[in-house]
Structure formats: structure tokens, C-alpha cells
């Protein structure tokens, strides 16, 4: 089996056309890979480009140069160049993402928000809801909230819905953008356990964790993103 995720010579900058076309370099020459069953944590100070890297891997940000190679259905897909349809298929089956904030849709219940990625993979709605309920229970989300749309939930409650949604599928690669930022100690520990389970299943994880205790518990290695920062070169 190929390495699930390989990032090679990736460059990214933003050109602000409305600000006289100034160019903001984000990262230069990013190279790393994540093996099956490994959890790699992106380290470095805020604003150094950690979230941007996750967003490029997910196809959310375009890249200027380089390759993002994902092992998808036994072939290698370059996210940097794939067409939208392929990127969506990769997201559906191979590449999961837990974002920092939940994008809520009016009128859709927490249970259905969590079940949706399974339904999108063709699993019957009742079965998907059972699995969703199991995860929400594990994350201690009060049962009376399950049938409500998450728009009015607290930050920690929304984040748990988001985590459940990200973890419900058996994606081979999982990107985590500060999944524990607004959680209490008990739920942080639940998430740490869930990550450990994913590792045992052979999932490749790449995440951002500012909480040191969580990072210590989950990281197999920390990748210092400041080595890719163009700002470092300027400062030196």
C-alpha cells in the first residue's frame, strides 16, 4: 500500500488584487509525508501557515506549485491539479477534515449533520443515524440536543458535532484543525482516545493542536512549520 499522503515542494502565496496586487507569501517548499497509523502534528506559532497547509491539502486553497499526492482508491491523485469532481470524490472516500468551526445549515439536526458523510457514501439513513448517535453519546453531547440544528449550540457543543462528523467515516486520511480548542478536560480525553483508535485502524492523521497535553498524547512527531515560512528567511 502506498503512503497515504505525500506533500512535495508545495509553494503558496496570496495575491491581493484589491491591495495593489501585493503578494503575501504563505509557505515555501513544503515537503513531508504521513504514514498509515501515524499522527503528525503541525507545530509553530500562530500565522505561520499551519491552517493554510491543511486547507491546501483539502483542496480548499489553491497552490502555486508542487504536488499533494493522496492514495485514493488504489491510485495516486494530485490534489493540487485534480478537477473539482475528483477532489469531491477524494473528500467523500479518502480524505476527512475536522475544521475549527462548524458551518451550520439551517433546519438540519445535529444527528443528521453527523450522519451526512455516511449517507453520502451510500449507507442507509437509519444505520448512519445509529452510528451518529453512538458518537455523539461518546462525546457526551446531551441527548436532548441531537434533534436540534446546531446553530444555537455553544462553541464546545458545535465542536463536538464537528468532531463526530469528521470521525464517523473510515477515511484513510484525517485532517484535524484544532479539534479540542473549546473542549473541557473530559471531552479532550475522549478525543485523544478517538484519535488513538483511528491510529490503530491505520488512519494517517495530520493535525494542529495548541493544547500541549493533547499534543503530547497524540503526536508521533511534530513538524515545525516555521521551516517553510518565507518570513523566517526575511528575518534572518
Amino acid at each position: 500500500m502506498a503512503t497515504p499522503l505525500v506533500v512535495s515542494e508545495v509553494f503558496k502565496s496570496f495575491t491581493m488584487h484589491l491591495r495593489d496586487g501585493i503578494k503575501l507569501p504563505v509557505v515555501n517548499d513544503v515537503n513531508f509525508s504521513v504514514a498509515s497509523g501515524e499522527c503528525v502534528v503541525l507545530g509553530g506559532p500562530s500565522g505561520i501557515g499551519k491552517s493554510s497547509i491543511l486547507k491546501m491539502l483539502y483542496g480548499n486553497y489553491a497552490v502555486d506549485a508542487g504536488q499533494i499526492l493522496v492514495d485514493h482508491k488504489d491510485r495516486i491523485v494530485d490534489i493540487a491539479r485534480a478537477d473539482p469532481r475528483t477532489v469531491l470524490d477524494v473528500r467523500r472516500h479518502t480524505l476527512g477534515y475536522v475544521s475549527q468551526f462548524l458551518r451550520t445549515v439551517p433546519r438540519v439536526s445535529a444527528l443528521d449533520v453527523v450522519a451526512e458523510p455516511l449517507v453520502a457514501r451510500g449507507i442507509a439513513a437509519p444505520e448512519a443515524r445509529d452510528k451518529a448517535a453512538e458518537l455523539l453519546a461518546k462525546l457526551n453531547l446531551p441527548q436532548e440536543l441531537w434533534t436540534l440544528p446546531p446553530a444555537t449550540f455553544s462553541g464546545g457543543e458545535q465542536q463536538r458535532v464537528n468532531i463526530a462528523r469528521g470521525f464517523i467515516t473510515s477515511h484513510r486520511i484525517l485532517l484535524l484543525d484544532e479539534p479540542t480548542a473549546s473542549l473541557d478536560a473530559i471531552n479532550r480525553r475522549v478525543v485523544v482516545e478517538m484519535i488513538a483508535d483511528k491510529k490503530r485502524e491505520g488512519v494517517a492523521l495530520l493535525g494542529i493542536f495548541h493544547d500541549e497535553e493533547v499534543r503530547e498524547a497524540v503526536a508521533d512527531r511534530v513538524l515545525d512549520v516555521s521551516q517553510f515560512s518565507p518570513r523566517k528567511a526575511v528575518a534572518a
Binding site: 488584487h17 484589491l18 486547507k55 480548499n60 469532481r85 445549515v105
Partner: protein, 258 residues
């Protein structure tokens, strides 16, 4: 992933005299995919939608559609009768103004039933049953089945128009500013409804909108138009989160935050 597109558009241009309506637009639409066409008024998005849906003959280019038998047919090489039949059965067209897509002086039930009769349904009881089922799906009380859309609110009319379009099980639906004239609470309900129906039925759709929030919620893929040209094209969240073209950046930065 199926590997045959539903619609193949190549080099479609429409000129109004020497003025450009839209120029050299090419793309493919796949089953189950929702494409949003965004841009400001006059950017050519409605012209393009009309050229794709055979409502307006393009000056150049071709639009090919995969028929239910699996064969591609060039829409502009079909007879008028064939095109009309396609429009009434396999396609839907949701207008911004529901009055353009509904018959305002016949009952809600008849508005939905009419499309069924166009595909050969003749059994009154069955037609009424299906119509009433569809009214429920678009959240219109079945006690309103005999009322005319004239007596409906704007949001209800729009939902009725959607029911009328979807009742024949179309594979492709065109929508022109479907939430255009509605107030925001009604918009949210309609969007949520459309999103659910598109997912459940596995429809392909082309949605013209100037509202980027509508595009974000409904579409997988987005095309940005300016002065008749497609200037940016890609995954919806990519175009909105990392817009590359000056005009797209202007559009995205003009969204009001609440």
C-alpha cells in the same frame, strides 16, 4: 463516480449584434453535480443559462445532452417538438419569478399534475395523489391543493414551482435566481428544501445566482462570469475561500458579515 457527463458544453457564445452576451463557454456537468454560475447583473449568466436550456439559440458552439438511452444529442440539432418534450419531462426550469413558471389561474394540484399528464399519466386519482404528495414534500398543506397560486405567498409560490418541476423526476434542473425575490427567512427555508431534494434525488442542477451564500450552500462547483466571459472556475469552497482573480476577490470581499 460515473464516468459519463450529463451535459457537454463547448464553445458556446451568444452575441446581441456586436455586443457580447456570453463568449466561448465550455464545461461538462456530471450526474449529481450542482454548478453555480455567479456574477453581477449584466455579466451574461442568464444569457448563458438560456443558451444551455434551449430557451435562446447560441450564435456559436454546441450543447450536448445525454438522453436516457445513453446517447448524446446536440440540443440545437433536435426538432422543436423533441426539445419541448425534453423540457417538460427530463428537465426542470425554476424561474426567479414563480409567475413565469406557474399557471396562476389553475389550482396548485393542477399545476403539479399538468407536468404528469405531459408524460402520459391519465389516471385522475393517481395524479391527484402524486400532486398532493409533492405539495407535502415542498411543505405546502394538502388543504391548499385546490387553491390557485394567486392566493399563495411568494415563498409558497416558489415552492410550488419547484414541486411542479420535480414531479416528473427530471435529471437536470436549471434555476435562475431561485431565491431572488424572497425575504431572508423564506430564503433559508427554500434553500434548505432545495438542498435536501437535490441530495435525495441525485439531481444535476445549474443555478444562476448573484448571491454567493446561495452558491456556497447549494453548489459543488462554481463559475464566475464577468462581461460575458468565465473568468474563474473551480470547486465552490476553493473559489470562495481562495479567490484568484481580481474580480472574484472583489465579489467575495463585498459580502456583508452579520
Amino acid at each position: 463516480m460515473t464516468d459519463t457527463p450529463l451535459l457537454k458544453v463547448s464553445g458556446v457564445s451568444k452575441f446581441y449584434g456586436s455586443r457580447i452576451g456570453c463568449k466561448d463557454v465550455s464545461f461538462e456537468l456530471w450526474p449529481g453535480e450542482v454548478l453555480a454560475i455567479v456574477g453581477e447583473s449584466g455579466s451574461g449568466k442568464t444569457t448563458l443559462l438560456n443558451c444551455l436550456s434551449t430557451r435562446l439559440m447560441p450564435t456559436a458552439g454546441s450543447v450536448e445532452y445525454r438522453m436516457r438511452d445513453g446517447n448524446f444529442r446536440d440540443l440545437y440539432h433536435m426538432s422543436e417538438a423533441e426539445r419541448r418534450f425534453l423540457m417538460r419531462t427530463d428537465w426542470g426550469f425554476v424561474h426567479q419569478n414563480p409567475a413565469d413558471g406557474l399557471r396562476m389561474t389553475v389550482s396548485a394540484g393542477a399545476n403539479v399534475g399538468e407536468r404528469l399528464m405531459a408524460v402520459g399519466d391519465r389516471h385522475y386519482g393517481k395524479i391527484r395523489e402524486t400532486a398532493s404528495d409533492w405539495l407535502t414534500r415542498v411543505e405546502i398543506g394538502t388543504d391548499r391543493i385546490d387553491d390557485q397560486p394567486r392566493a399563495f405567498s411568494g415563498g409558497m409560490r416558489q415552492r410550488l414551482q419547484i414541486a411542479r418541476n420535480l414531479v416528473t423526476g427530471p435529471r437536470l434542473v436549471f434555476m435562475d435566481e431561485p431565491t431572488g425575490g424572497l425575504d431572508v427567512s423564506v430564503q433559508a427555508r427554500l434553500l434548505d428544501l432545495v438542498r435536501g431534494l437535490v441530495n435525495d434525488l441525485g439531481l444535476s442542477a445549474i443555478v444562476v445566482t448573484h448571491d454567493l451564500a446561495v452558491a456556497r450552500l447549494l453548489s459543488h462547483r462554481m463559475m464566475v462570469m464577468k462581461d460575458g466571459h468565465v473568468i474563474e472556475h473551480g470547486l465552490t469552497d476553493r473559489v470562495l475561500d481562495d479567490p484568484r482573480e481580481p474580480y472574484t476577490q472583489l465579489l467575495v470581499s463585498s459580502i456583508l458579515q452579520v
